[in-house]
């Protein structure tokens, strides 16, 4: 019997361990940022501008002489927290909507399905841009934009899961033993739907980081001097030839983090797939 929970077991996979390690490192750096670096992210030091990597500035400096590594670490704070919080809100709302649609059927189901199909007919970036335009640039706007952009995905997934689970024998059996609607919904249906939704949320967080960076690149995310990975790339895009590291390192941070999330997500899928295990032992 395995006592470890699946997220820890996923670290035992070779790729899952590597990816999980990177994510833990980035998360820890984001949390401990003030203790890790002697520099402030917003203090300009113009004589030190455009420095390439050195012992004092490991990843070099930007056009205002600010330490790039420091800004990258503080940028992780913004990018990760905005993406993760947005996805969490999105998952919660999506599960409620999806479960309600699947459970009640009829017009609630049709209304939710039509709304979901409508949002899916637009690219996510377009929905996000429209919402940011309405709410105004800044982290709140980006958070709402990301949450809404991915809402359809979680609604649809939860709805499909609950629809399938509704017909399972154990749900029928629970009913035959006198269980009520609440018990069946919260004790049987949602817990069974949770694993795939969480894995999909994990993978969506990777996409959300890219979306957050894109919005930041357009200048719609965290406003200067607060760093975000997208905002840093935007500033670096003017310096591609003069100081290429200013755009390369935030770009690498986004790329490596998103790949790590996907690899860790794959390991998590392998560990969480209770159904597959059921089939293997049966």
């Amino acid at each position: 019997m395995m006592a470890w929970p699946a997220p820890l077991r996923a670290l035992g996979h070779p790729m899952g361990g590597l990816a999980g390690g990177w994510l833990l490192l980035v998360a820890a750096a984001a949390v401990l940022a003030p203790f890790l670096t002697p520099y402030a992210y917003d203090v300009q030091d113009l004589p030190q501008a455009y420095q390439p990597a050195s012992a004092a500035h490991w990843l070099g400096t930007d056009e205002f002489g600010r330490d790039l590594l420091t800004r990258l670490i503080y940028g992780a704070r913004t990018s990760l927290s905005v993406s993760a919080a947005a996805i969490a809100v999105s998952v919660l709302c999506g599960m409620v909507l999806g479960a309600a649609a699947a459970w009640f059927g009829g017009w609630p189901d049709r209304a939710v399905t039509v709304a979901v199909d409508l949002t899916w007919s637009f690219p996510e970036i377009l929905i996000a841009l429209i919402l940011v335009a309405i709410i105004g640039p800044g982290t709140t706007g980006v958070m709402v934009a990301i949450a809404v952009a991915y809402l359809a995905q979680f609604t649809r997934l939860t709805r499909a899961q609950i629809m399938t689970l509704k017909g399972e024998t154990f749900v029928e059996a629970a009913r035959c033993l006198g269980a009520g609607t609440g018990h069946i919904l919260f004790r049987h249906l949602l817990p069974n739907a949770l694993a795939p939704v969480l894995v999909s949320a994990m993978l969506a967080t990777g996409d959300a980081i890219i979306l957050e960076a894109t919005l930041g690149f357009f200048g719609l995310g965290a406003q200067p001097p607060v760093p975000s990975w997208g905002g840093m790339m935007s500033a670096g895009s003017a310096l591609v030839f003069k100081a290429p590291w200013v755009i390369i390192f935030p770009g690498l941070a986004v790329a490596i983090t998103v790949v790590a999330i996907n690899l860790y997500g794959d390991a998590l899928i392998a560990e969480l797939d209770i159904r597959q295990k059921l089939r293997r032992t049966a």
């Binding site: 019997m1 399972e168 024998t169 154990f170 029928e172 059996a173 629970a174 009913r175 035959c176 033993l177 006198g178 269980a179 009520g180 018990h183 004790r187 049987h188 817990p191 069974n192 949770l194 694993a195 209770i274 159904r275 295990k277 059921l278 032992t281 049966a282």
Partner: protein
């Protein structure tokens, strides 16, 4: 003694399609009633009707009444019916492989039934669960209670499902093909366990099956359904010795016997008709060797024969020396 479960000429329809037509059954405490018939004959639907679960599949009782301990289930409120299910009526599902929630530990799933229906605390419910598992001859009950469903074998899971059915102190157990998904050796154990429960605790058992062998082993009475109607009903001994209805005779002919010549095992030609196109008259006549003109036109009504009833225009006469 009044019957614990009584179906009085129950008819059931889903939407506008009539599926059961005037089914009459009765089951007393301490007895086992076998309900047999091919797939599509209405066995499971009869069980759903007995538990008041028809609305779930869009069905309703269109005639007659289902009485449990004298009370009309159709006249009860939803809450009363729910208290009955799992409380006074236990249910054992068809497929143990999928009857347990894969993301809940075994113990929790059994506990919740006695907490819901007997109002036990967590601790008392777990004690009761362990006692039930031990009584069902599950070794290392405590370890099993902490296990996940995928860690158990099919036979073990079916015992857990039986434990869940027993957890609410039921008086009636409805078992819908409890052994169909299990291998033969485990089948015998499960049947033995169910039989012992009836003898030792005075429960009534409605055993739905399509296995006439199982019926012959444990049942007191047997009711044969065909296409939503009762074909024959009565005590097991006389019916197996001399079936009156040609369909019962055909079902019994499907049981492999000792010393049977190779290829002698008979099947029944044709299939159960769809509920959308029941033939007129006796619904069995297209497959019946004894069918006459009369059978094409007029449906036979159940009439008393020996200690049971049979619905056939050409029922075999009872053997010598019986009324």
């Amino acid at each position: 003694m009044t019957a614990l479960l009584q179906l009085e000429a129950v008819s059931v329809a889903i939407g506008t399609v009539p599926l059961l037509d005037g089914i009459g059954l009765s089951l007393e405490r301490g007895r086992i009633l076998g309900l047999v018939g091919e797939s599509g004959s209405g066995k499971s639907l009869t069980a759903m009707a007995a538990m008041g679960l028809l609305p779930l599949i869009g069905g309703r009782v269109t005639g007659g009444a289902v009485r449990f301990d004298g009370q009309d289930i159709g006249a009860m409120t939803d809450a009363q019916r729910r208290a009955l299910r799992g409380g006074r009526i236990g249910f054992v599902t068809q497929n143990p492989m999928t009857a347990l929630d894969p993301v809940q530990r075994i113990g929790e799933q059994v506990d919740v039934v006695s907490r819901l229906h007997l109002g036990l605390s967590h601790r008392a419910a777990r004690a009761r669960t362990l006692e039930l598992l031990t009584r069902l001859r599950i070794p290392e009950a405590e370890a099993v209670a902490e296990a996940w469903p995928h860690q158990l074998s099919g036979g073990m899971k079916q015992r857990i499902v039986i434990a869940m059915a027993l957890a609410g102190e039921p008086e009636l157990i409805i078992a819908d093909e409890p052994t169909t998904a299990l291998d033969v050796t485990v089948q015998a154990q499960i049947i033995q366990i169910l039989g012992a429960l009836v003898r030792d605790r005075g429960l009534a058992l409605l055993l739905i099956t399509h296995d006439m062998g199982v019926v012959a082993q444990v049942c007191d009475r047997v009711a044969v359904l065909y296409a939503g109607r009762l074909a024959e009903e009565g005590p097991v001994g006389p019916i197996f010795a001399a079936p009156a209805h040609p369909y019962t005779a055909a079902l019994i002919g499907c049981i492999p016997q000792d010393g049977m010549a190779k290829g002698a095992l008979r099947g029944i030609p044709g299939a159960v008709p769809s509920a959308l196109a029941f033939p007129p008259g006796c619904r069995f006549h297209p497959r019946c060797p004894r069918a006459s003109d009369l059978c094409h036109r007029i449906a036979p009504l159940p009439t008393p024969r020996a200690e049971g009833r049979v619905a056939c225009h050409h029922a075999s006469p009872p053997p010598e020396g019986q009324p």
